[in-house]
């Protein structure tokens, strides 16, 4: 009994016709193109995950949600930088409202605060993001438009000039918070205006609204050398940012909410920077606001009411 010769199975390889070959090729090509067009997403995958995408709004997170988020951040930072960070979610303290005072008589314009801030807060080194701009201003004027932040003098201070560092003024009436369409930035009860980098959509409205040029945008993926990463981090503070989000000075939340002075203050070689709790009548800042010639809140006429005060000794 011999089997009759079966007709070739149309689904088998042998039955490959020109039509099915072309169809297959077209489907393959289409899929390849789709995969390739999604390739730019691979860059994102370094620093965002489904977990982050599904993360809740900061104010709605329970402590256990936050613990998960912190574990994710620590994992991601370790993966990217090879350093195990210590991330905390520090809450504002009761009975504390932060105020910064800067002595314009003392400041010599050495820009050490700028770089101490960058080192403390894990800003991108290239492209460079700095929270503090030191303006070199001619004596006899308070017009910031006469200020120059690109001064390249070999020695400071220069005769006939004074220096005015400008950073986030932590306004009581912050225009940046009002314009944020997604509430990714808000003012906490200790006076610090914070940003949730996982909630920010990068529209840059806040940058446009800020009269002090205090906010910075990550146009590219931030670059931080592994050996310069500060592993002591806070969720609303100096944890590494990603491309497409805003950032700004947050009075070194990871330090100040743990009771320490900000980094820019500790590095200042002339003691021009003073920081503390304005609700404590014994604090340095209370003394300064009571006793010294505090002349401005910068751009007072904007009605932003900064918590950053400039004062003079004489």
């Amino acid at each position: 009994m011999s089997a009759p010769p079966t007709p070739p199975d149309p689904t088998s390889d042998a039955a490959m016709t020109r039509r099915s070959f072309l169809r297959g090729t077209a489907a393959f090509g289409g899929l390849t193109a789709l995969a390739a067009s999604l390739a730019p997403l691979r860059e994102l995958s370094d620093f965002s995950s489904t977990e982050q995408f599904l993360q809740k709004y900061y104010k709605e997170m329970t402590p256990s949600d936050m613990a998960k988020v912190i574990a994710r951040i620590e994992r991601e930072v370790q993966h990217q930088y090879g350093v195990r960070p210590h991330v905390r979610d520090l809450k504002p303290m009761d009975g504390v409202e932060f105020v910064y005072c800067l002595n314009l008589t003392r400041c010599i314009g050495c820009r050490k605060c700028v770089h101490a801030c960058v080192a403390e807060n894990n800003q991108s080194r290239n492209p460079e993001i700095q929270y503090i701009r030191v303006l070199k201003m001619p004596h006899g004027s308070m017009d910031v438009e006469k200020g120059d932040h690109n001064y390249k003098d070999a020695q400071v201070p220069d005769k006939g000039f004074f220096y005015m560092p400008v950073q986030c003024q932590q306004c009581k009436n912050p225009p940046c918070v009002k314009v944020c369409p997604v509430n990714a930035t808000w003012q906490e009860k200790d006076g610090i205006t914070v940003i949730d980098y996982d909630w920010c959509i990068g529209c840059r409205y806040c940058e446009a609204a800020c009269p002090y040029f205090a906010r910075r945008f990550n146009f590219t993926k931030p670059e931080i050398p592994k050996d310069r990463l500060n592993p002591e981090m806070a969720y609303l503070g100096n944890r590494p940012r990603k491309m497409g989000v805003m950032e700004k000075c947050h009075f070194c939340i990871q330090r100040t909410r743990a009771g320490k002075y900000p980094a820019c203050l500790e590095v200042c070689p002339v003691g021009a920077r003073k920081f503390g709790n304005i609700l404590d009548p014994e604090s340095e800042v209370s003394h300064i606001l009571r006793e010294k010639r505090v002349f401005i809140q910068l751009k007072e006429e904007m009605g932003t009411s900064p918590r950053f005060y400039y004062y003079f000794d004489k």
Partner: protein, 220 residues
């Protein structure tokens, strides 16, 4: 070979095939472009050298007598009676212009205290009776590790500010319940013989994303 009957409209199906083939080639080309795009180097950016670590230093410029004692460093500079004789105050000499002559044993001292450097009498601060102490003009003796009392005898408002924390450098904890704050003393920042803070080199300024020449100095 093909068991299926040839359908009418063969020319139509071959046109479809032509389209599909064309699309395939097109998509593959696009895929190639995309892949090449992800591999290409990112747009050139100006190289920004990492900032010199000396600009991140928080240590004070100077060490006071108290620091030297604490660090168990060489205190021979303060051993006055290694060279001087007790109960015989060394004389102070001036040149023709009334400028103090610094003896060569103290050549490291540059005098520049007060307006026009006129606070140049050693015994305004040093105690001629006992060179190992300092003196306030009202006669109180002050040890080398307690100079705010001496400096404040002339610079009253500054001492008042320093006491309140408004003058001078502080580090550590603003919240004294959580930790201690470190205060620096006068001589940590000021050289008592020439207290004005000398000019210094500034840290590098900002670099923009697309490095250009800095704008011209604003007119003033």
């Amino acid at each position: 070979m093909d068991p299926r009957p040839t359908r009418p409209g063969n020319s139509k199906s071959s046109r479809t095939n032509l389209w599909l083939g064309g699309l395939t080639v097109g998509f593959l080309g696009l895929a190639g472009l995309f892949l090449a795009g992800t591999r290409s180097p990112r747009p050139a950016r100006a190289d920004i050298p990492p900032v010199d670590k000396k600009f991140l230093e928080t240590t004070p410029w100077r060490q006071t007598y108290a620091d030297l004692v604490k660090a168990k460093e060489d205190l021979s500079d303060y051993d006055c009676y290694g060279c001087h004789e007790k109960n015989k105050p060394p004389p102070i000499r001036f040149d023709d212009k009334g400028k103090i002559i610094i003896p060569k044993e103290h050549a490291n001292i540059v005098m520049g205290h007060g307006s026009h450097d006129r606070n140049d009498l050693c015994y305004n601060c040093h105690n001629e009776q006992n060179l190992e102490t300092l003196q306030v003009r009202d006669g109180r003796q002050v040890k080398f590790d307690n100079i705010p009392l001496l400096c404040g005898s002339c610079h009253g408002p500054t001492l008042r500010d320093w006491d309140a924390g408004a003058h001078g450098r502080t580090s550590g904890f603003w919240d004294r319940k959580l930790g201690e704050a470190q205060r620096l003393s006068c001589a940590n920042c000021h050289n008592p013989h020439s207290p004005r803070i000398p000019p210094r080199e500034p840290a590098p300024g900002p670099h923009t994303l697309h490095e250009t020449t800095p704008p011209a100095q604003p007119g003033h």
